[in-house]
Symmetry: C2
């Protein structure tokens, strides 16, 4: 396929994808018959530019990295906002990577619906729309003969959704259990080495794993969003934010961690869901003391892991990065390659 891409939002993830697309242009064309031009970018801070025969993305990256606005790009149309870019540009596929409120899912939901409604494919790393409206948006994509891909919302570029959907096809997946948040896993790893919670958190912040306000990570909200997504997309249920029991890691003391170590166990923040015999889902995010024989117990640092419970194969686990600028950018390429295969 020859993609015409438009970026809505152009922060670190969008730039990460752009770098990958530029560096791998030849390889993608040769190995996968994947070809592309990037026709438009619209970013609330950086401005917008539309050039129907394709932008010079080296020039674009140069502008952005020097803190300049997209208006300074030498040619093209500059006055389209994000909605107009989606509607009026000749892009067939929208890379939706805006800064979006995870609770409301906006403005991403509006952008995604606008694109799908116009029959344009969407690939997006925003969790909010998937948490709130995965089923609805997937149906909308199908009825408009378009694709809505969001591989990056669970484990960034680690292909957890792709694995469930394609590689494990034919199985019934009855549940899952995983380390779905890298920040808390990093903190727990440092605490087991003897560091205090406060110092481990500070170190996570210095390394860019944790934000200034770490609540979303340490209270288990980020993991909770992923449990909702996996329950709805992989288990085929329709649960919401409030259907998941939640406890974060802030009450785990150094003493408890030392005690677990002496028992040959290890504390992990586990996100899980299991289909019950009545068809309902029991979902939670909760700290668990795992025996070291559990494949999840040895997953340390900021690494993520996810075990699916399948009917034919038993537990299948995937382990890989769960965050990162380039890793999350790469998740968008997984979605684009999926569209490419289907076309």
């Amino acid at each position: 396929m020859h993609f015409k891409l438009a970026f809505i939002g152009f922060g670190t993830v969008g730039q990460g994808l752009t770098e990958i697309l530029l560096e791998k242009k030849d390889m993608l064309a040769e190995q996968y018959d994947f070809n592309y031009i990037i026709v438009a970018i619209s970013d609330i801070m950086k401005g917008s530019v539309y050039e129907k025969y394709g932008l010079d993305m080296y020039k674009i990256l140069d502008l952005v990295k020097n803190g300049k606005k997209l208006d300074e790009y030498p040619t093209g149309i500059k006055d389209l906002d994000s909605l107009a870019t989606i509607k009026k540009s000749n892009a067939d596929t929208i890379v939706e990577v805006t800064y979006t409120d995870i609770k409301t899912g906006e403005p991403a939901i509006t952008y995604i619906k606008t694109a799908l409604g116009a029959g344009k494919n969407v690939v997006s790393t925003n969790k909010g729309p998937v948490v709130k409206q995965a089923v609805e948006l997937l149906k909308m994509a199908e009825s408009n003969n378009a694709h809505y891909g969001f591989e990056g919302v669970v484990l960034a570029g680690t292909p957890a959704l792709n694995l469930a959907r394609f590689s494990l096809a034919g199985n019934k997946i009855n549940g899952f259990k995983g380390i779905l948040n890298g920040t808390t896993n990093y903190i727990l790893t440092r605490m087991e080495e003897g560091m205090s919670y406060d110092n481990a958190l500070k170190k996570a912040q210095v390394l860019g794993y944790a934000e200034a306000d770490p609540t979303g990570d340490v209270e288990g909200l980020d993991a909770l969003g992923k449990v909702v997504i996996l329950s709805n997309v992989v288990l085929g249920k329709n649960i919401g934010w409030k259907d998941v029991e939640r406890k974060g890691i802030t009450e785990i003391t150094k003493d408890e961690i030392v005690k677990a170590k002496a028992e040959g166990k290890r504390w992990k923040l586990i996100g899980s869901a299991e289909i019950q015999s009545d068809g309902s889902v029991k979902a939670k995010v909760w700290p668990e003391k795992l025996p070291l024989s559990d494949p999840l117990a040895s997953v340390n640092e900021a690494i993520n892991a996810l075990t699916y419970h399948t009917d034919e194969l038993g537990p299948i686990t995937i382990v890989g990065p769960g965050a990162g600028r380039r890793e999350t950018g790469f998740s968008l390429l997984i979605d684009l390659l999926e569209i490419n295969r289907k076309s």
Copy 2:
């Protein structure tokens, strides 16, 4: 797609796939638009039967489980041998699960070439043909517009090849490292608990993990075959049996295992290959003392695991079963679903 399948060989793996196909018939049709009839079976011991509008597979399983020959099936043509079944039946897809010599790859290679040459798809769990001629057979499939699938040859139904080929597409995979043999992993797990090598081997034999002559497993030959396959199919190289350094587990003493445990380490039989800076591959099967922080260290019992070294995502690990009648049967369904997606 509406498959017309013919089984060449009908041992435990073929029967395992048949059970899955029967139990999941409705689910496969509804979820994947995957439909099938089984038109022929040819087995060197059980005889053969061909019925162009489809066999009643419940009747077939009944016959086979009662030790009867396929000749006793009430209708159909009974005098076709395996080659004739491939050539003369109306099957579009051959399930090749014969008893085959892993060293020569025969008779599987002959069957596979005959089928591909006639433009028929092949799915197979035989390692021999992939070890010996993967590149050639894949090219032959392509030029005949057919598909040659062999997901089961590495980790049975754990979708290790599918993961590399599709879910990790866009990455350059530069190497891998894995626990590729369940029998030896089971023995090492028991030895760490205090059992002697001889007793652990006996227990593995009782459980059906190890054969009466365990050489293929304990000397690392089975793992070696998988290293050759992964090097050729995933790393894109063309190495043979003799290009892999090999050492099995028979020289690991209980003392060494106890000593490793005291150091917080664990012995594993590791199959690995890495592309070198000159483009060559360094491949080996060798016992390694892994720190418990290595994701492979906590993979115990007869479970297998494989870590791919990717350029975009770093190490990506998949953990799951590496053997089993039904699990290996399921690997054929993964291949069939792949053909179904492409068609």
